[in-house]
Point group: C2
DNA sequence: TGAAATCGGAACGAATCAGTCTGATTTAGG
DNA sequence: CCTAAATCAGACTGATTCGTTCCGATTTCA
């Protein structure tokens, strides 16, 4: 029930990338220095994000990263799935058979729980995470 | 974003225990044989569930387990938290400091996501998971 | 009193994850 | 056209956590 660190870093990195969205390309090293994360780790995160189609990479000198889609069209669920694979609380949701595959009374209920969680994450766009909220409100 | 196997087993075990709720005490070995899970694993799960106060254990010969509360008052979130600890997607929600503790723009948003997920799990009572649905409906 | 059955904690092994590094590819400039 | 720099992409190592199993302490019934 805990997100992996990679996924956490991916969210932070995507937020940083979203800020540079209008500016064009940004290098992974720049994102690392801005976010304070170790550079090699950011590189790894960026690789996964690019493979998933969330980021577009331009190689060669003067290259860099840029969001493949507008920030509003990228949800938290997309980022998590890009790094951690499909959101599935249990293996049986994925089709893998568990030890109690036969007459498992809980099995039919997992998809409902699963979609509920995924829906909660899908409703949070990257724009909402990237915006620095005025935390002036009284807690 | 995946539930640990222990938590999965805990849910199955609790469902089995809920069926025996009216019958009184049930041994961990019986729950294991009924669910098809390895007996030692069930024992470990039962220990955690008892420590969390979800199950009540009676030691000695003829002892066994029984639900500490009515099944309707036990939610999926309770079971997950009993096995995996507090539901916290990231370490910073728990108070632990992450590498980017300073000016982490994402940090203020995590509690919202976290509570959303926890709420989704808290709304599913054990009774709903224990009942065997008439899966006659066309998928 | 004896014995059985239970929970509780500790130890071992495996798997996944985090982090680091080196190599291949691509572009810009001379 | 070639050189050189900068980039991403994949593979490797070490560590932490999870899963599983086993054994001991405690408690109750007969």
């Amino acid at each position: 029930m805990r997100l992996s660190n990679l996924a956490d870093y991916a969210v932070v990195t995507m937020c940083q990338a979203a800020r540079h969205c209008g500016g064009g390309k940004v290098s992974a090293a720049e994102l690392a220095s801005e976010s304070g994360l170790p550079a090699p780790t950011v590189q790894k995160v960026v690789s996964k994000l690019t493979s998933a189609g969330l980021l577009r990479s331009s190689r060669g000198a003067g290259g860099g990263l840029q969001l493949a889609r507008p920030a509003a069209a990228i949800s938290l669920a997309d980022i998590v799935e890009a790094v951690e694979g499909p959101i599935a609380l249990t293996a049986c949701v994925e089709g893998e058979d568990c030890a109690v595959h036969e007459k498992c009374s809980v099995k039919p209920h997992w998809p409902i729980v699963n979609s509920a969680l995924r829906g909660a994450l899908a409703e949070i766009p990257l724009t909402r995470l990237a915006q620095i909220p005025q935390v002036k409100e009284v807690a």
